[in-house]
């Protein structure tokens, strides 16, 4: 026979760390801007971001590009690359996961 006695269990789920980020404001136009193309080292990631860059360059011939790769696929983007993109680029195009 099933018991009807109640117990209380503690919740194993951890509270999430708070983070307050906002979407970056987009400039009005891509003309004359620099775009960072980031390769996450997964197969064809470089092809994906390069193709996106190529098509954008066709529409906006004044665009410039900085191409960088993560040194390892399964780590966060190194601070040095983030800093470089922040200093020199107005946009970034990247790829996530496999």
């Amino acid at each position: 026979m099933e018991k009807s006695r109640k117990i209380e269990m503690a919740n194993p789920v951890g509270e999430q760390e708070e983070s307050n980020l906002r979407l970056a404001t987009r400039p009005n136009s891509l003309e004359g801007k620099t775009i960072g193309l980031l390769d996450n080292l997964k197969p064809n990631a470089s092809v994906i971001v390069a193709q996106a860059g190529k098509r954008l360059a066709e529409r906006f011939p004044s665009l410039k590009f900085i191409v960088r790769s993560k040194p390892e696929q399964a780590i966060p983007v190194p601070e040095a690359i983030v800093r470089e993109f922040r200093e020199k680029c107005s946009f970034v195009i990247n790829a996530l996961a496999d």
């Binding site: 999430q16 064809n44 994906i48 970034v92």
Partner: protein, 456 residues
């Protein structure tokens, strides 16, 4: 900075959940078909050409419009059903009232997407309090933030999961130390949690506490039979699931996984180790108990039944380690060899120190480049280990580590001729060793020292 992020459809739920966990729920994700990695370039070009209007809008639309378009946007595939319970996890609910019935509790756990598929021990207040007797830390102390969900692993949350796993309270110090080790940046827990690789944290315990807590280091060391091994490893998996969000197929994307994801905990067989044990090699006093966490794949058995010499055994082990399609071959890193006591004894009797054994293994656990496929050579060896293989010819011998020192050696197991090659996640993770200590950093000689020093 404005970004357009490509993600394939299969990983779009992962991407959206990660973005939410990072506090960016409206991160624009441009979804493309899956898979992409093994397509010829022209097919990749086609796929990207098909979404260029969306890419342009992501780079130019006002934030408010992007927020409306991308916040909470999930693609429904038949495989995302497991994500639905994860969306409703609410950490603010401190207590869950439930009928005291194993069947009812099991149904609740399953419905919430919790657990590992096995029955759990209900974490009642009384059980959690008893568990907390074995730490001198405050229950609200934060040990670390577990990715990718960024859940906060407080002492109390860790204790709750340890109860669910079936741990004795005496095991809590080992678990707290292991969690502290896993969140060290060089371990790269985020990469290990979210990857398609079957990697799982393997816990290796050294020092007097291993014996006191009866953590198996002998026969069947990677198998069943010891409560400590089974439940300590299980507690870590439950922590990675409930606090880190590592739900299979959702934020844990292991393609096939491995049995070590149920539980992966051993002790080193220090009594039968002819060399310095792992923790001493890594700078600790022999009488200090430690936990080492290793980003470990599924282990591969090596049979050495015929060797009569040290060199024969070392060569056999090296042959077993020369595994081509592993992260260590493609990425380097710290491959692990768990040598059985008989093989270790034979090697040591041949005059090899541990350091010399590692040099032998490094020099002989190699694969000729010509055995790899053309795509693997170009996309993996030359792209991921360019320093070593950009100029390589077909007869270059590919190593499984970048140096002899990077090979990890542990002695464990009972009598018999079987050892284990444990490939690891590769260069993006480094094993971390931490001492099991009181809050003030002093190592303990016996686990009861935690109980006598605990705070309320």
């Amino acid at each position: 900075m404005p970004a357009a992020t490509f993600v394939t459809e299969e990983f779009s739920t992962l991407g959206r959940l990660e973005a939410e966990a990072l506090g960016m729920p409206s991160l624009p994700l441009v979804i493309i078909p899956h898979p992409m990695g093994n397509l010829p370039q022209e097919k990749v070009h086609e796929a990207i050409d098909g979404v260029m209007d969306e890419v342009l809008s992501v780079l130019t639309l006002p934030s408010g419009e992007l927020d409306k378009k991308y916040r909470g946007k999930y693609t429904e595939t038949k495989k995302t059903f497991r994500a639905k319970p994860l969306f409703s996890w609410d950490a603010r609910q401190e207590k869950i009232e439930v009928t005291d019935s194993l069947e009812v509790i099991s149904k609740l756990v399953e419905a919430r997407g919790w657990g590992d598929g096995l029955p759990i021990v209900p974490p009642t207040g009384e059980r959690v309090s008893r568990m907390l007797e074995y730490t001198d830390r405050d229950r609200r102390d934060l040990i670390g933030v577990i990715p990718p969900r960024r859940g906060m692993a407080t002492v109390e949350k860790i204790a709750i999961n340890a109860v669910m796993a079936g741990c004795l309270p005496e095991y809590l110090p080992v678990i707290l130390t292991a969690v502290g080790a896993m969140v060290e940046p060089q371990f790269n827990l985020y990469g290990i949690q979210a990857t398609t690789n079957p990697v799982a944290p393997l816990v290796v315990v050294n020092g007097p506490l291993a014996k006191e807590l009866d953590i198996n280091c002998g026969y069947n060391v990677f198998g069943q039979g010891w409560r400590a091994n089974a439940t300590i490893g299980r507690a870590l998996r439950l922590i990675l699931t409930h606090i880190g969000g590592g739900v299979p197929g959702v934020l844990d994307r292991a393609t096939q996984g491995q049995p070590g994801k149920y539980s992966f905990c051993i002790a080193e067989n220090e009594e039968e180790n002819p060399w310095e044990p792992l923790h001493v090699e890594r700078g600790y006093d022999p009488q200090t108990s430690t936990v080492t966490v290793v980003g470990a794949g599924a282990e591969h058995n090596i049979l050495d039944i015929a060797s009569t010499t040290a060199q024969g055994t070392l060569m056999t082990l090296a042959n077993g380690m020369a595994a081509m399609e592993t992260n260590n071959a493609y990425l380097g890193g710290e491959p692990l060899l768990v040598i059985c006591p008989e093989c270790a004894a034979r090697i040591a009797q041949g005059g090899f120190t541990k350091k010399e054994a590692k040099i032998f293994l490094y020099e002989n656990a190699r694969i000729p480049l010509y055995k790899f496929t053309r795509d693997s050579i170009v996309s993996m060896l030359q792209r991921r280990r360019p320093k070593w293989y950009t100029e390589a010819g077909p007869h270059t011998m590919v190593t499984i580590a970048n140096s002899a020192e990077d090979i990890m050696v542990v002695v464990a197991g009972g009598a018999g001729p079987h050892s284990k090659f444990v490939p690891t996640f590769g260069a993006s993770t480094k094993a971390v060793t931490k001492a099991i200590t009181l809050k003030d950093g002093r190592p303990v000689g016996a686990v009861k020292e935690f109980k006598t020093r605990r705070k309320g």
